[in-house]
């Protein structure tokens, strides 16, 4: 029998492609809203309210939420959920002003951490020298 598709009036829902089928929680840990929904800063979900996928620890957040967190010095650049150093997957997002801000923040935190370690070593060396 001849059955041809002539026209569509399709209705579909969009979803973020999280590239991992075993997502255990679908909520952003900072605002507790689902990823497919808006973060508190945005009016519309989708391209303008993108996600950031954690690279090392695999925790995901709304871009704006994680930005707010990392802008705090006390965050120390750590993931809010597991306190590991936070890195994100660059292949998931197009480059935007916000993404660049995020990169800068993360680099900033990294420098702070490196400096702390250097300082610790310096004072350790000082201690050693003092005991000579």
């Amino acid at each position: 029998m001849k059955v041809e598709i002539v026209d569509w009036q399709a209705v579909a829902s969009w979803h973020w492609d999280l590239k991992d089928d075993s997502i255990t929680d679908e909520l952003c840990g900072i605002c507790r809203v689902a990823f497919d929904g808006t973060c508190p800063n945005c009016k519309y979900p989708g391209n303008e309210c993108p996600l950031i996928l954690g690279a090392g620890c695999q925790h995901n957040f709304h871009l704006h939420c994680i930005l707010q967190w990392l802008e705090q010095d006390t965050s120390k650049g750590l993931c809010p959920m597991c306190r590991q150093v936070f890195e994100f997957r660059k292949d998931f997002n197009t480059v935007t002003k916000d993404i660049n801000s995020l990169l800068m923040l993360i680099d900033g935190h990294k420098s702070m951490r490196d400096r702390e370690v250097d300082e610790e070593f310096d004072s350790f060396d000082d201690d050693l020298r003092m005991n000579d």
Binding site: V33, P40, T74
Partner: protein, 176 residues
């Protein structure tokens, strides 16, 4: 309305639906940014069993931690709250005659009610919740064996503001 109102609402609903044992909500404001809790302590070292905790949600929550402190006050017997389940109804007979709240004695709690807790300062992340703060505080007091105030209590309360600030004090010995 708080920017993260949805999250506050979720936390509030959860506190109501699954109340913590021995922790009651005494009151809260419409915006869900101010709460009064009553915490019950089982530690035998304490004469009073009930303490009142004020929790304030700042504009920066959940990126910044809530502010919390103990307060003094008079207690109304049988205040409405959310403890008590069908298996463990509120036992009216053991509803103590405690008529007022005092500041609990603890090496990390100043006499003005300010609290020295890592979770309320540097160790706070948005993964924590109001609930986790309450549980930590309760546990902190329940497990306490040293019935003293912090060593710098007198000096501290002279210069303290309304709430503890993050840089206000040095963290004490965490073995308590």
């Amino acid at each position: 309305m708080h920017p993260f109102h949805k999250r506050l609402l979720k936390e509030f609903k959860s506190l109501n639906k699954n109340p913590l044992p021995s922790i009651k909500i005494l009151s809260n404001n419409e915006n869900l940014t101010n709460f009064d809790f009553e915490i019950e302590i089982t530690n035998g070292l304490y004469d009073d069993k009930l303490y009142k905790l004020v929790v304030v949600i700042t504009k920066e929550y959940p990126v910044s931690p809530p502010k919390a402190k103990f307060v003094v006050g008079t207690r109304e017997a049988g205040e409405s709250g959310s403890t008590g389940t069908s298996e463990n109804p509120i036992d009216v007979s053991s509803d103590t005659m405690q008529s007022s709240y005092k500041i609990p004695i603890h090496p990390h709690i100043y006499s003005n009610g300010h609290i020295c807790l890592n979770l309320l300062g540097d160790d706070w992340t948005p993964a924590c919740t109001i609930e986790s703060i309450l549980i930590s505080l309760q546990s902190m007091i329940n497990n306490n064996t040293d019935m003293t105030r912090p060593p710098d209590d007198n000096r501290y309360i002279k210069y303290a503001g309304e709430f503890a600030s993050k840089d206000g004090f040095v963290y004490h010995d965490d073995s308590v």
